[in-house]
Symmetry: C2
Subunit: 127 residues, 2 copies
Amino acid sequence: MTYTISQVAKKLNVTIYTIRYYDKEGLFPFLDRTASGNRIFKEQDIEWIDLICCLKSTGMQIKDIRTLIENCTLENAVLDKSLQMLMDHKKAVQKEIEEIHHKLETIDYKIKHLPEMYERIVNKPSN
Amino acid sequence: MTYTISQVAKKLNVTIYTIRYYDKEGLFPFLDRTASGNRIFKEQDIEWIDLICCLKSTGMQIKDIRTLIENCTLENAVLDKSLQMLMDHKKAVQKEIEEIHHKLETIDYKIKHLPEMYERIVNKPSN
DNA sequence: ATAAATCCTCGAGATAACTAGAGGTCAAGA
DNA sequence: TCTTGACCTCTAGTTATCTCGAGGATTTAT
């Protein structure tokens, strides 16, 4: 079973522009083509692309994803490096979430004090 | 007690370029200036700027922050709208965190299966 | 008083990640 | 056969958010 670019786009909820862009950026070195040049997406390709989209949407930059993928697809592939990158990313995202929780608390605090903060601004004529 | 732009930058861990940019974008309509034009940051200003940076770093766009601030500083200020925006943002961020948690699980799953996903790519000569 | 540091504005440049249109190929259905 | 639609590449444009340098004024420290 294979898919076309528009089927994959729908399945993974991205645009075909994005898929082509990612491919151009070297994120899908594993893709095959038909004789006439159309991309062919196999099940396992979609597994990879799903991971790549997951990494992207959790904040990993394209150039880092490229590095990760390259470490899997090079002749002398260094799988450990890719695994390490994934685990590092996971840790970074968790830390990020921690910080966001903290910021949400700050926002909460500000919400409570907004009326007085607002007063200070509004009663500005006197300063 | 007042602060200069570089003191505020240090305090809130942003660059002075960013502060000027935010000001230019209308995020600090409450700021006063010295006779010669230098920005003066009062304690309450820093409260606001801290909130604004908090919103920014949790993903609120500048144009939305501007709207929020405008609703606080206009003549006929609509504080309720600002409060609503803050609470909506908070909810959106919480939902975002949920989704990220879910994506982390996906990444975890992929980490476990990376060796076999990798095999499939490496043994490509046969497909 | 003067040199160094800091401030200002304005406008241009940088960066990341798309987004889209032009112009063309190709395969399948009416 | 011809038209429709989906695909292709290439290039350029867009958006958001900074980032920085030039050129000039002002403040601070010696």
